[in-house]
């Protein structure tokens, strides 16, 4: 059924532990913020219906453990992603510096067909804290990095107060949709990891 329309958009949220990935996802999907989300173990996702023009899509948002040590698991679920959201905490320089690692790691593990043009969106979270007084990464600096990586769209958010969350995810959905459509061919919802890794066996991306 090649004419079947693609209705599932897969989004991966990455970033250091504690930057607010789970909170952002829950704020967007459930319009709730809780101080008591547990640290994510393994992976989970939430889904949300979104409408574009006259079409309805299911946004499937994947949330993962942020500790570096769990990165090798990414390969199990990054594949088939349509958009990757990189989150950092504006009050933590380290979380910002790690964006590059997360981006590269994602590209390696997800191995999208067109890595140059794969859509990322960057979120600088927790802008509410201390009225912005404890912030250590300036918006300018963040935007400069985004520009240097192929004009990645950038948002400053607060999962706690809901600031910019809706806007950010609309952009995320739009980008995910674009990347899906550019591929033209219909992709099944689940990606056959076994088969694709075999095909890649002989290839060299270097």
């Amino acid at each position: 059924m090649p004419s079947r329309r693609r209705t599932l958009l897969k989004v991966i949220i990455l970033g250091d532990s504690g930057v607010g990935k789970t909170s952002l996802m829950n704020q967007y999907v459930n319009k709730k913020f809780s101080n008591q989300y547990k640290a994510t173990i393994g992976a989970d996702f939430l889904t949300k219906e979104v409408q574009f023009e006259d079409r309805l899509f299911t946004l499937q948002i994947w949330d993962t453990a942020g500790q570096e040590r769990f990165q090798s698991l990414g390969v199990a679920f990054y594949r088939g992603a349509d958009c990757c959201v990189l989150v950092y905490d504006v009050n933590s320089m380290k979380s910002f510096e790690n964006l590059n690692n997360w981006r590269e790691e994602f590209l390696i593990q997800a191995s999208p067909s067109d890595p140059e043009n794969f859509p990322f969106v960057v979120l600088g979270n927790k802008v509410d804290i201390d009225g912005g007084n404890s912030r250590v990464v300036s918006e300018k600096k963040a935007r400069a990095w985004c520009a240097s990586k192929g004009n990645i769209p950038y948002f400053e958010t607060s999962a706690k107060e809901g600031t910019n969350v809706e806007e950010a995810f609309q952009c995320i959905a739009k980008n995910a949709l674009k990347s899906g459509e550019e591929e033209e061919i219909y992709l099944p919802d689940t990606i056959d990891v076994g088969a694709s890794s075999q095909q890649r066996t002989g290839g060299c991306e270097c």
Partner: protein, 655 residues
């Protein structure tokens, strides 16, 4: 040393070429160039794999990628691994690092063994151990190809699987008598296998008299039977699979012979085996083996005769869970000195009923291994006081770090920050950890930070706070909780290893257990590409901590910690839960995503007692076969129980 760099084909134009050479040599007859090789020293690349990487540091993203080759030169086989130029994934890795790790032409005569790691999640990797005992850092096969690597080696040198560990391949090892026996079984070491593809079924083992034509016929029949239309001949990948399948047949043969012997000397069937295994008399179990259907727990599975010996049998197990062990009964397990006289009986008692709340503080110390069963009141009192001051000493190591020091101690700051982020989101809904400025939350932090100094290499990893929280809740004492946590981490520490190997090996064992105990479900997962069992990751990593409420988690843990029927009862618990929902999973045709979501949402809805009873039954049913599914050293086994000359505890960081 031979100047192999001359033959290093380092640009991509040569890549396809060398691949051709590689496969050509695989399909060529063995005898072709062995005699002439002494004349002209021609190097021939028989294997080439790009994107093989090492991780020189603990950071997953600091890697050096390169090209792995097997080169045949003269009569010997050499291995090289050359990093790509100017391709550092991280600024912290210098060119010097690269040349340090480069493997230049190591002849296989210098290689002692190869250890293969094929985790269900993440990348496959291999560890090459030299005759000198040294080992290269793990080589990660980002693009796959580990199987081919081994298969290719096998065509050129004598390679045999270790009897102790199916993932260790010994190079040129003629010492071990068992291995000698195995090698005399005509392992397919000659290259001619490629031209004469043999069926991957056991019968080919005894077919030395068969002609090539016959073998070919049988083989194609086999392929057709399996509905595979693709031509299998001359495909190096299939070749390697066949070689490895043959391998595993031989090892399985050896293992089955062994268990057959055990069975014969210990009465009949798996049940008596399970008994023997756990030093039980048959009547101490409350189930009976029946030849007709009284109660069939497995009635919904059509079991292939090979996968289960007990398809004709059925079990009756009536043992309901018992009330938890109370203090009165507890005192009957202690003699006047305070020694637990029959630890087996105690563990059995707790296995079936758990421990009363108020008694946990005392009993958990034994279950966790902080106190030994043969210790006395006096001895324990002494130990506690010593441990208390030891704890303070370790704690002081970070307590005394000044602000100025911390500024220059990034690792410490990062660790502390990570721990602080996690303790404030650990079990806050429990009154014990409730509210702002909760002192127990601070205590969690202090213990975890102290642990990360006690075991600096492992450090802190997410999930640890989940494991510690019930312990602190029960012990209500900082140093005691610390040492109990240390004891727990002796067993579960590998869950948090950087290469995730501890979890991988458990998920692998789980997949084998499901294959054994619920073959249709296994087939279903296979069909849906779910065999990595990633959806059980959280279950395994933190022992179901997120799946049950706090009280139930503690009950489950004390049962698991008895290690009464098996050290790996938790894996049978996994199987039990999956089996409970199998018809839903299969009926709704859940794919990987749906399954992961479904499993995550089971949290809070699993009936613990029923699951434990199922797990117990499954564990007993599986018996020896179940044990055989679980590779030695799989957590929570204690690492030092291993007797092999090879270190099987997967502490590859050390290697």
């Amino acid at each position: 040393m031979i100047e192999i760099d001359l033959h290093d084909l380092s640009d991509d134009a040569d890549y396809a070429d060398s691949m051709q050479q590689g496969s050509a040599s695989m399909t060529r007859s063995d005898s072709s160039n062995r005699s002439s090789s002494s004349e002209q020293v021609v190097a021939e690349i028989v294997y080439l794999k790009d994107n093989v990487a090492i991780h020189p540091t603990q950071h997953a993203w600091e890697r050096i990628r390169g090209r792995l080759k097997l080169i045949k030169q003269g009569g010997s086989l050499l291995m090289t691994w050359i990093p790509y130029e100017g391709q550092s994934s991280s600024a912290r890795l210098s060119e010097k690092d690269k040349s340090l790790y480069t493997i230049r032409a190591v002849p296989f005569s210098d290689i002692r063994s190869i250890r293969r790691h094929t985790p269900t999640l993440g990348w496959q990797y291999a560890i090459i151990v030299l005759s000198s005992g040294l080992a290269f850092p793990p080589l990660y096969f980002y693009n796959g190809g580990l199987k081919e690597f081994l298969a290719t080696i096998k065509q050129h040198v004598f390679l045999v699987r270790s009897a102790e560990d199916a993932n260790i391949f010994l190079v040129n090892d003629f010492q071990d008598p068992l291995q000698r026996t195995l090698s005399s079984l005509e392992l397919p070491r000659a290259v001619s296998v490629a031209n004469r593809p043999t069926s991957s079924v056991a019968r080919s083992e005894s077919s030395s008299s068969r002609t090539d034509g016959e073998a070919l016929d049988k083989n194609s029949t086999y392929i057709q039977q399996n509905g595979r239309q693709r031509q299998k001949h001359n495909d190096p990948r299939n070749l390697s699979i066949q070689v490895l399948e043959k391998f595993s047949l031989v090892t399985r043969f050896a293992r089955e012979t062994k268990s057959q012997l055990l069975r014969e000397s210990h009465g009949d069937g798996f049940i008596s085996n399970a008994m023997r295994k756990h030093d039980k008399k048959p009547n101490s179990y409350s189930f009976a083996v029946e030849s007709n259907d009284v109660h069939k727990p497995f009635e919904d599975i059509p079991v292939p005769a090979e996968s289960l010996e007990y398809d004709k049998l059925s079990l009756v197990w009536g043992k309901p869970r018992q009330p938890p062990l109370g203090s009165k009964e507890w005192s009957t397990f202690l003699d006047s000195e305070g020694t637990v006289t029959d630890s087996e009986a105690l563990r059995k008692r707790i296995f079936y009923g758990g421990v009363e709340k108020g008694l946990r503080k005392e009993v958990w110390r034994f279950l966790l291994g902080y106190h030994s069963y043969d210790s006395t009141f006096v001895g324990r009192k002494y130990l506690v006081s010593i441990r208390k001051s030891e704890y303070e000493t370790i704690k002081n190591q970070w307590k005394s770090i000044t602000k100025e020091q911390a500024k220059r101690f990034t690792k410490f700051r990062e660790r502390k920050a990570l721990i602080e982020k996690d303790v404030v989101r650990t079990d806050r809904s429990i009154p014990f950890y409730d509210g702002d400025d909760n002192s127990n939350v601070k205590c969690l932090r202090d213990i975890l930070l102290t642990y990360s100094f006690y075991n600096f290499d492992l450090g802190y990893c997410q999930g640890m706070s989940d494991l510690l929280s019930p312990i602190l809740y029960v012990m209500e004492d900082e140093p005691e909780s610390f040492w109990c946590f240390v004891a727990l981490m002796e067993r579960l520490g590998p869950n948090f290893n950087r290469d995730q190997n501890g979890v991988h090996s458990q998920l692998f064992a789980l997949s084998k257990l499901v294959e054994l105990l619920d073959n249709p479900l296994h087939n279903y997962f296979q069909q849906k590409d779910c065999l990595n069992y990633f959806f059980c990751f959280r279950w395994v990593l933190i022992q179901f901590k997120r799946e049950f409420d706090f009280e139930k988690t503690m009950r489950l843990w004390e049962v698991l910690w008895t290690h009464y029927l098996s050290e790996h009862l938790h894996l049978y618990v996994c199987v039990a839960i999956l089996r409970r929902y199998r018809s839903k999973i299969i009926g709704e045709e859940m794919d990987f995503d749906t399954l992961l979501k479904f499993i995550n949402e089971l949290s809070g809805h699993i009936n613990l007692d029923a699951t434990l009873r199922d797990a117990e039954a499954l564990c007993i049913c599986a018996g020896e076969n179940g044990e055989a599914c679980i590779p030695p050293g799989t957590p929570p086994s204690l690492p030092f129980e291993i007797t092999s000359m090879y270190n099987q505890q997967d502490d590859d960081d050390v290697l």
